[in-house]
């Protein structure tokens, strides 16, 4: 069980290895990595700056993690979420869930990223040569989060 909010990048392989290292009760590990996409609508973005609410972010994500623990028999979870100025192709978020069987790992991973989208206090500013704009949440994100309600 771990939540990290950080400026720095993360190494996917090393992070996933650390979860399963010596944990022979784990039979399945499912992970999701979110990246900065270069296209926003029809525009190429030059950077994306993630703002967050430092005193709330970790608490809010730990609540989401605890909810996943309640719902599925998980052996381990890891959520790393970056903030600050990122470029297209940069990693933003890593979500991982481990369980003795794959079904719980898949479902928990999916749940964690869906709820992060709509409940973790982050805001994204996309910058392009035309200027900058705050990203509006997508209706499809709300629908994805709501299917777990």
């Amino acid at each position: 069980m771990a939540v990290r909010i950080q400026l720095e990048n993360f190494q996917i392989g090393a992070e996933l290895n650390a979860i399963t290292n010596g944990r022979h009760n784990i039979g399945g590990l499912c992970s999701f990595v979110g990246l900065v996409r270069e296209m926003a609508g029809n525009e190429n973005i030059t950077s994306m700056t993630l703002e967050h609410y430092p005193s709330m972010t970790e608490k809010a994500i730990m609540e989401i993690e605890a909810e996943a623990q309640n719902r599925w028999p998980l052996e381990a979870t890891l959520i790393i979420h970056r903030y600050g100025k990122l470029k297209p192709g940069d990693q933003i978020v890593l979500v991982a869930a481990a369980s003795s069987h794959r079904e719980a790992a898949f479902k928990a991973c999916n749940f964690l990223i869906d709820w992060l989208k709509t409940k973790a206090p982050f805001w994204k500013l996309e910058e392009s040569f035309k200027g900058s704009r705050w990203v509006n949440p997508r209706g499809t994100d709300d629908e994805a989060a709501a299917r777990w309600d």
Partner: protein, 83 residues
């Protein structure tokens, strides 16, 4: 109380946070929003469309009818986009 603002709410109001002491009849988040909106154009613009305002008291999401206290930290921001 401490008020904190994020994203375009912060930009419109023009500050990241501030200490304010609203009058005694300001009891709920809704009262506070109306009082803030009367303080200037930046505030009025930030709170013009309440459907795009989210609120947290002491780092917990609340609705507009939540009661506020003098030592609360109250945050106003647009809908979040994590992940």
């Amino acid at each position: 109380m401490k008020l904190v603002y994020f994203s375009w709410v912060r930009e419109k109001i023009g500050t990241t946070d501030e200490e304010l002491n609203p009058p005694n009849h300001i009891n709920t988040v809704s009262d506070l929003i109306n009082w803030l909106a009367s303080r200037g154009d930046g505030y009025a613009s930030a709170f013009a469309d309440l459907s795009s305002i989210r609120i947290a008291i002491n780092q917990k999401y609340v609705k507009e009818d939540a009661t506020i206290r003098a030592d609360d930290e109250i945050a106003f921001f647009p809908p979040v986009t994590g992940g």
